[in-house]
């Protein structure tokens, strides 16, 4: 990302591949830059027709409308979205969460079963997980966000298919959400990392209701069952629950500040032969 005067340029011309984290990240960067400037940030479209076509199938250009300034690419005749698990969807209201859950039910069962080898019942758990992820935006960020999910063949990295889910919002982040209720008990230790630990590991929320705070805990439990990885980045910190096949450190602080929060989940295909496991 480079700045030219008062306008930000997101230069994606040389992009050769992009996943849901990348796409949603572009929208978040554009939103933040646009909020601080009087004009929409400019997006330099990828020169690769494959990447542009993929962005179109993922609904990136519809989602970027009003967020980024770009020349709409020519539509390709084969613009079907049958291979997309969940195209980029804006989440700002209760109805949006219902729309996400509704959309994903059509595709989730088939993709989770055929690509990951999960049982048919996984579609329900996957939908429940997406619902809780999206509600995290509405209930805690108090600002809009996006969600997207897609399956990939991580042939070199893992030797398996994976499903990647990305959720980002431009809200107040975990530290901002928990500060009023919980910062005092942490004293000088209070910061982005401790806020993430409080929510991610201990299930704390700003709500006094004991029924709250289970969304992330249940997402973690489900991700663990599927031997997946989950990370949450907010402010200058990132926390994660990582399986054996992933070498991401469980807690990192001192990162570049990220407004809002970013939740990334990777769900790998089931392994039938234990010897195939490992070796990213």
């Amino acid at each position: 990302m480079e700045r030219r005067g008062e306008r930000t340029l997101l230069d994606a011309r040389h992009l050769r591949w992009v996943d849901p984290d990348g796409m949603v990240g572009l929208l978040l960067a554009g939103s933040i830059a646009g909020r601080e400037q009087s004009v929409l940030p400019r997006l330099g479209l990828p020169e690769s027709a494959d990447v542009t076509g993929y962005l179109a199938r993922m609904g990136f250009f519809e989602a970027a409308h009003g967020v980024l300034d770009f020349e709409a690419p020519a539509r390709r005749a084969s613009g079907g979205r049958s291979d997309v698990l969940l195209e980029i969807t804006s989440v700002a209201s209760n109805a949006d969460v219902h729309a996400v859950v509704d959309r994903v039910q059509g595709q989730a069962g088939m993709i989770l079963s055929s690509k990951l080898g999960y049982p048919a019942s996984a579609a329900v758990q996957f939908s429940v997980m997406l619902s809780e992820l999206c509600q995290n935006i509405i209930e805690h960020a108090e600002a809009p966000g996006w969600v997207a999910a897609q399956s990939y063949n991580w042939a070199k990295r893992l030797g398996r298919f994976v499903v990647v889910i990305s959720v980002m919002d431009m809200g107040r982040g975990f530290r901002g959400s928990l500060m009023e209720e919980h910062s005092a008990r942490y004293g000088d230790r209070w910061g982005d990392a401790t806020a993430l630990e409080a929510a991610f590991l201990h299930g704390l929320t700003r709500f006094p209701d004991s029924g709250r705070g289970q969304g992330i805990q249940q997402i973690r439990r489900q991700v663990r069952k599927w031997d997946g990885a989950i990370t949450i980045r907010s402010g200058t910190a990132r926390i994660g629950q990582v399986p054996e096949w992933d070498d991401t450190p469980p807690l990192v602080d001192g990162l570049s500040p990220l407004p809002g929060s970013q939740i990334s989940i990777v769900l790998p295909a089931m392994v039938r032969d234990p010897e195939v496991r490992g070796g990213a």
């Binding site: 209760n94 939908s127 509405i138 969304g215």
Partner: protein, 200 residues
């Protein structure tokens, strides 16, 4: 004197959901019945409570999830845990609930929210098969199963069936927790499934 609730109420959650979601469903052209989001759960619970207002001093409700495709944790907390919690908060329960159609896709969410709040509920886990979901001891589970198999027990039968005081305490606990109904007149304790049997 507290006798059996005369007319158990049957509440189809899918219908309530349809009324609550009205505009939302139109906007997403929903093909599925998804009981998701805390906001939706709150609205569904409020609609259920409205139906219970005129149900009499002692009420029994069959809350039917059979047509619900998905229920998430937030909604389960609002529609099941909080519904039970508020009637139990007021002392010995006058409102009893049986949750119908709690099949495998819903079971984990409902179990989880009940356990988190230290609650339990009678659920229909398979057609015509009932179970206790949520937080309960092995002893409570055993006593409940004996009651469920017999349908109901008189005071005399209680002494015979449960000679141990710990068993009898567990039986009393089921009544206090809203998992069985005791008639104040006869002292007979009845399994909730028997009281809603004609609605299934």
């Amino acid at each position: 004197m507290r006798e059996l609730p005369r007319d158990p109420i049957s509440i189809d959650v899918n219908e309530v959901l349809g009324e609550v979601l009205g505009d939302v469903r139109k906007s997403v052209t929903s093909l599925y019945s998804s009981l998701v989001t805390r906001q939706t759960g709150r609205a569904v619970r409020a609609a259920i409570e409205m139906q219970l207002v005129g149900a009499g001093k002692v009420s029994l409700s069959l809350i039917d999830f059979s047509e619900v495709a998905i229920i998430d944790f937030s909604c389960a907390d609002e529609v099941v845990a909080k519904l039970l919690q508020q009637y139990l908060d007021e002392g010995p329960p006058d409102a009893f609930f049986v949750f119908r159609g709690v099949h495998e896709p819903h079971r984990d969410q409902i179990e989880t929210v009940l356990r988190r709040q230290g609650l339990a509920a009678v659920v229909e886990s398979h057609p015509g098969i009932f179970a206790v979901a949520g937080e309960h001891s092995d002893l409570e589970g055993h006593v409940w199963t004996v009651l469920e198999e017999r349908g109901s027990v008189t005071e005399e039968e209680i002494e015979q069936l449960f000679p141990s005081s710990t068993d009898r305490d567990a039986l009393t606990g089921l009544v206090v927790r809203g998992l069985a109904f005791r008639s104040h007149g006869s002292g007979r304790i009845t399994a909730l499934s028997r009281l809603v049997h004609h609605l299934l």
